[in-house]
Amino acid sequence: MRPVGFSTSPNLVLRLPMWRSRLMLFLLFFVFMLLLIRAFWIQGPGNAFYEAKGIRGTQRELELPASRGKILDRNGQVIATSLEAKSVIAYNDTVPDDLAADKVKKLASLLQMSESELRKKLSEDRKQIFLKRQVEPAVAQQIKQLEIPGIGLNNEYRRFYPEGEAMAHVVGFTNVEDRGQEGMELSRENELAGHPGQRRVVVDRLGRVVDEMAILQLPQNGKDLNLSIDSKIQYLAYNAVKDAVEKHHAKAGGAVVLDTQTGEILALANYPSYNPNDRKYLTGEQLRNRVLTDTFEPGSTMKPFTIAIALEKGAIKPDSNMVIGAKYLIGPKPITDTHPYDSLTVAQVIQKSSNIGTAKIAMNNLSAEEMWDFYTAVGFGQAPKIGFPGAVAGTVHPFKKWMPTDQARIAFGYGISASLFQVARAYTVFARDGELVPLTIERSPEFKPGTRVLSAKTAIEMRTMLETVTEPGGTAIKAQAEGFRVGGKTGTAHKLVGKGYGNKYRAYFAGLAPISAPRIVVAVMIDEPTGGSHYGGDVAAPVFSTIVSETLNTLNVLPDSKVKQMVLQDKNPDEIRTANVQTQHVVLKR
């Protein structure tokens, strides 16, 4: 038996079982390993998620605003510009959930929405949300002063059109996203649009930018656009059309003014119009640019072209005499004139606007092909290439389909269709001694060579005949403009209603001035005049007269007709020229 020591009683010896300590060791090791693996995961492969979460809290991508280009008229006057407006954005992960009720109330009233609507927007599960766009700067300032975390203001632009109604159809307008919807805003969208940039920034708890990480994209401002339109001429043309439409209780009206030397469009007016500054009115009929998008039968304004072909061929001369009579039987319905004539010279056919005379000239001297060729050469049946949305081509049916009755009627402008703009363009042929001028709506004030479609002799002969239209005995004495010799052609066309011609008319006048050296072509259309006369010579010619005299005065064109001077008959111009401004005044007043 083994002796047992007093102090070493086997009963007192505590012996831990080895497995327990090993288990503990293993467990501790295991937990530490887990932590280590987790740490490794967070630092290594799983890092992206946490990094993104960190960035979400402190970094933000902000837009660098780019402005849309301005639209300017030919004199550099602003006709469309973008001014800053603010958009209110909520960063929903930063906006505190327990936002004070009075702040919500104030914000809602500033944004002009109900509290419940605002709360609904703020609780949406989106990183950022637009609360309101294009807010007035003053309101934006008040929102900023509320100092609500996570409510930010972003810069935006809103478009303003200082000329309002007068220029509406030319410039068009943009939508709330600042994209062009109509007119030049639409057709030149690519050049005008700005391309916003983007940058990444670090923000603090209150959403203030404290550092910039990177510029992701540089902003690019839109280019300015210089139009050929003169706002002054545009305004007076618009006013003249508006007055005439109101005076004659008409449905609508339009006018176009072209510079014959440079091919620039100086004015393009439509009535009824709309105010592009007010979004409420940006729908419906008044948006139509009738000058370019409405086609009509040009009626008598077509006659000079038909007669010009016969003159060019040498088949007739301005003083050739011809028998007219009361009726011209061709096809099922005879052709008649408003006033019957026994005989007229070719020049008088134009002056009196004889349908029978024109039809006879066409049927006796011209083939359908010759007529079709010339009409097409002066731009009928083709959409004008001026980069305007919705410009129409009109119709000139293929000559092979023309029956003799068609040919006779097309000769005086029925059975084909064109826009007012096309008619105006075609008249540049007479203004430019037989050349058709390429037209542009962008400013380019240099002389443009044209395409010759007539000899200069024929064009000048036709100009002389067109002048007689505005002289006593002609159909448009009211087209006369003070101080300037003018020429042109009236047109009164029955409107097609359903399948036949109803009791509605369109009155036009297309002409040029001054006759001695034509500088402008003006075409006027008044749709459905109802009060009294519906003739082009009574309704449209006075508009032409107003536009011509005011435009030529604006362009500083010297009068070419004799005017009775009311001042200074006996003064020597040298005396005035050498006097200083104040004395000039006195000299002029005397």
Partner: protein, 88 residues
Amino acid sequence: MNRATLTLLALLLICALSLVAAQQRARKLFIAQERAQIEERKLNQDWLRLEYEQRNLSKSARIRDVALKQLRMSPISPERTLYLKEAK
């Protein structure tokens, strides 16, 4: 610790402090730059706004109205105009 270690420690401290100072300075400059940019944009906008206002005051409709009603002017007509030719 020997002298070299102490020197290095001091250098390290100076570097660390200057780093903090530089960062502070960078942040201040950044804020100043941001402010200047905002100011630039604001001035630019003011200019555009003024240009728009000037345009609004000088638009044809207003000029016509003022000329006819307030100043009692009448449109020019050739019979009351003396045309001077430029001296050659």
